[in-house]
């Protein structure tokens, strides 16, 4: 690492300074106000409920879930799919910052990268929660297990998700460590990885779509539009989450320079939310105008089939939320500071809308009707909700701690070098 300017802490090597950095980060991450401790305690409590529910699921078998041989994936895989999108959505900060040299975005881009880390951690937890035999997890580890690569799309997903996690951990870790040492980050050590992460972000969501759209026996998923749709909705839900997070960070910590990035992200959602709606509309036209057996899943989703209507309220809630959010985003006032509550409302609606559309609205109807055209409905069990909420709480814990660790960097934004 000779290209890095000499350290102010002259006679220290990385072997001694890195543990110090970790210790210091841990200390900082656990420092805070009463509200912070209350928040973390609440998250821990929720997480523990989830951990307990999961342990019961492993001990008693997955009979505790409401999944069946007909609907063999449910809430876990729905959340997994959505989380991949959230992780990929962070790239909407990286692209303006590094490809368009948006200085202000560049200063705070680490928020998006930290979100990616938290979201991928949640993805991996949701996959674990869905396994019937988590104790055999090692069978999937290349080298010691039997990795069905390149044929199985799931192995691709394992690779791209873990790769994305590592890339983002490297970028964030490197920048924060340099900040700790008081050195200027050397672009050689992180810019190539940032560029890689842009391509990689697209890949994680594309591969995740390929998991489903490559299955000929499931007409509802078997559409070439699935991957583009996944990306479009990811570029709604990701930025929406980041906007709300930024507004909170600004309120709670006084980090400055966030208003312009919020504006940029809002403008991005304005476009992506419309692209997403357009693709949904085009999908629905193809399904309903063509008719035949292809349309039964969509019919079930929107109107119910043979009197079974479990998903209908979910779908229409999602549609309503997406439409209202789109209208709010198009309204010029949403960019104005005094209308911040409207922006937050629009973001929350877009976020929840995307969650339903991609989760319950995409995974479950793939199984209804079943391949033998049985209609077996699915409503998540209490155990599934507990595990799910527990994983969300854990993800929020990671995100909170990560942001806290990064606060000094965010506050002294002038520190991160400007590319040009």
């Amino acid at each position: 690492m000779s290209s890095i300017p000499a350290s102010p802490i002259e006679n220290e090597t990385h072997i001694t300074s890195y543990p110090k950095f970790i210790g210091r980060s841990l200390w900082l991450a656990t420092e805070g106000s009463f509200a912070f401790y209350a928040w973390m305690t609440a998250l821990t409590a929720v997480f523990l409920v989830g951990a307990n529910a999961w342990a019961n699921q492993v001990a008693g078998g997955m009979i505790g879930t409401n999944m069946t041989d007909q609907v063999s994936w449910g809430l876990y895989i729905a959340n997994f799919t959505f989380m991949v999108g959230l992780a990929a959505g962070g790239v909407m900060m990286v692209i303006p910052a590094y490809l368009y040299h948006d200085r202000k975005m560049h200063d705070v881009v680490i928020i998006g990268e930290l979100l990616a880390i938290a979201a991928i951690a949640m993805c991996l937890m949701f996959v674990m929660a869905d396994l019937g035999r988590p104790d055999r997890f090692w069978h999937m580890v290349p080298g010691i297990g039997k990795f069905n690569w390149p044929i199985s799309m799931l192995t691709w997903d394992v690779i791209v998700l873990n790769g994305y996690l590592l890339i983002n951990m490297h970028i964030c870790g490197y920048l924060l460590y340099m900040r700790f040492l008081g050195r200027k980050p050397n672009p050689v050590w992180y810019v190539p990885f940032v560029m890689l992460s842009i391509v990689w972000a697209i890949s994680i969501h594309t591969v995740t779509a390929f998991l489903y759209c490559g299955l000929g026996g499931r007409p509802f998923w078997n559409t070439a539009l699935l991957a583009p749709r996944f990306l479009a909705s990811a570029f709604v839900s990701g930025p929406a989450f980041i906007i709300v997070a930024m507004i909170f960070i600004k309120k709670l910590t006084g980090v400055g320079g966030l208003d312009q990035p919020i504006g940029t992200l809002t403008k991005i959602i304005r476009v992506t939310i419309l692209i997403n709606l357009l693709m949904v509309a085009s999908e629905l036209f193809t399904e309903f105008y063509t008719g035949g057996s292809h349309v039964s899943a969509a019919k079930y989703l929107f109107f119910g089939l043979h009197g079974k209507t479990a998903l209908v309220p979910w779908t229409w809630t999602a549609i309503a939320m997406n439409l209202i959010a789109a209208l709010l985003f198009l309204w010029p006032g949403v960019l104005m500071f005094k209308w911040r509550p409207v922006l937050v409302t629009a973001c929350v609606m877009a976020f929840v809308g995307a969650w339903i559309e991609k989760g319950m609205g995409l995974i479950v109807p793939g199984f209804i009707p079943s391949t033998l055209h049985e209609i077996v409905e699915y409503v998540p069990s209490q155990l599934e909700w507990k595990v799910t909420v527990g994983i969300w709480a854990f993800g929020l814990m990671i995100f909170t701690i990560a942001i806290k660790t990064a606060l000094p960097t965010l506050k002294r934004t002038d520190f991160i070098d400007n590319q040009d």
Partner: protein
């Protein structure tokens, strides 16, 4: 939040560190308590089972050990004395099934026979076979019903039994991330129940609803356990893994017929080795107008249907 000095004042530091340490300990303790049900699960998995290699990588000695262990476990858990064989494909064999839909009357005896033969969970009444009651005049499964009742056959209906089609291009095998399921030389698609991680991707990929997941540990009373078992077929499955029809390989690879065929009172089912020129199944495929399910998906089933 105020700006912290680069190093906190030392007394303050140690007090806060103690508080943080206490909280961390408390959290860790609560976590251990929360996941304590796992201890129960861990007890059910022996170290030998945990470490077991993939079926295709076991040496003959290792296989013997595994099988002895499984037999002992069945005795302990279910109170039944069983023999678990390791039946391999017979060279020069390719098994194919056919059903005469003009004859099948939907009585469901095959469904029951499968349930008993393959040591399925009694509580869920599991079986690898599902029979659809279809209105005459359509091939559209959407019109069918798997939950029909009453006296069969009904005049305006015909009956379509569906089980694993032992596809020659099986999507279920392609998607498995750990190669826990594969196609053997005689055409049978099998699962190593001790290697499957229970992701259920294959269940999503199969277009014929042929796969089942063990949502709970199967319950079979000792006196109902079928003791003639095989590692890759009807041994009692562990919880949390996927299973499927194996054309009763523990029978067919020993020269017997599948249990569903023997149970069928109408003679609708025909089973045999397609490579055997004199076999009945070969004659049917050559002389009847046979068809396969969901041909457009390109799965190339080894399971045929025909009408007289």
């Amino acid at each position: 939040m105020t700006n912290h000095p680069s190093l906190p004042i030392i007394e303050n530091f140690s007090r806060r560190a103690a508080v943080k340490g206490a909280f961390a300990t408390l959290g860790a303790g609560a976590f251990v308590a929360a996941i304590s049900p796992l201890r129960q699960a861990a007890k059910n998995t022996t170290a030998a089972e945990f470490m077991q290699q993939h079926y295709t990588e076991l040496s003959p000695e290792q296989k013997d050990e595994v099988i002895a262990r499984l037999e002992a476990e069945t005795k302990e858990k279910y109170g039944a004395d069983v023999t678990i064989g390791d039946d391999r494909p017979i060279p020069g064999t390719k098994f194919v099934y056919a059903i005469n839909l003009s004859v099948c009357n939907g009585n469901g005896k095959c469904v029951e026979a499968c349930h008993q033969e393959n040591n399925h969970d009694r509580a869920t009444n599991q079986s690898y076979i599902r029979v659809l009651e279809m209105p005459k005049g359509t091939m559209d499964m959407e019109q069918g019903s798997t939950t029909y009742s009453g006296v069969v056959p009904k005049d305006d209906k015909f009956y379509l039994p569906v089980q694993c089609q032992q596809c020659d291009e099986p999507p279920c095998v392609d998607v498995c991330p750990v190669k826990a399921t594969w196609k053997e030389e005689d055409g049978i698609v099998v699962v190593d129940y001790n290697w499957c991680i229970g992701c259920r991707y294959c269940e999503a990929a199969c277009p014929y609803h042929a796969r089942r997941f063990n949502w709970k540990e199967p319950e079979v009373p000792a006196k109902e356990v079928n003791p003639d078992q095989s590692y890759l077929s009807n041994r009692i499955r562990p919880v949390g893994v996927v299973e499927k029809c194996t054309y009763c390989l523990h029978r067919t690879r020993r020269g017997k017929l599948p249990a569903c065929l023997e149970a069928c009172p109408t003679g609708a089912r025909v089973f045999g080795n397609i490579l055997d020129k004199d076999s009945n199944i070969r004659w049917i495929l050559q002389n009847k107008r046979v068809y396969i399910l969901k041909e457009e998906l390109g799965t190339k089933p080894a399971f045929f249907y025909y009408f007289d």
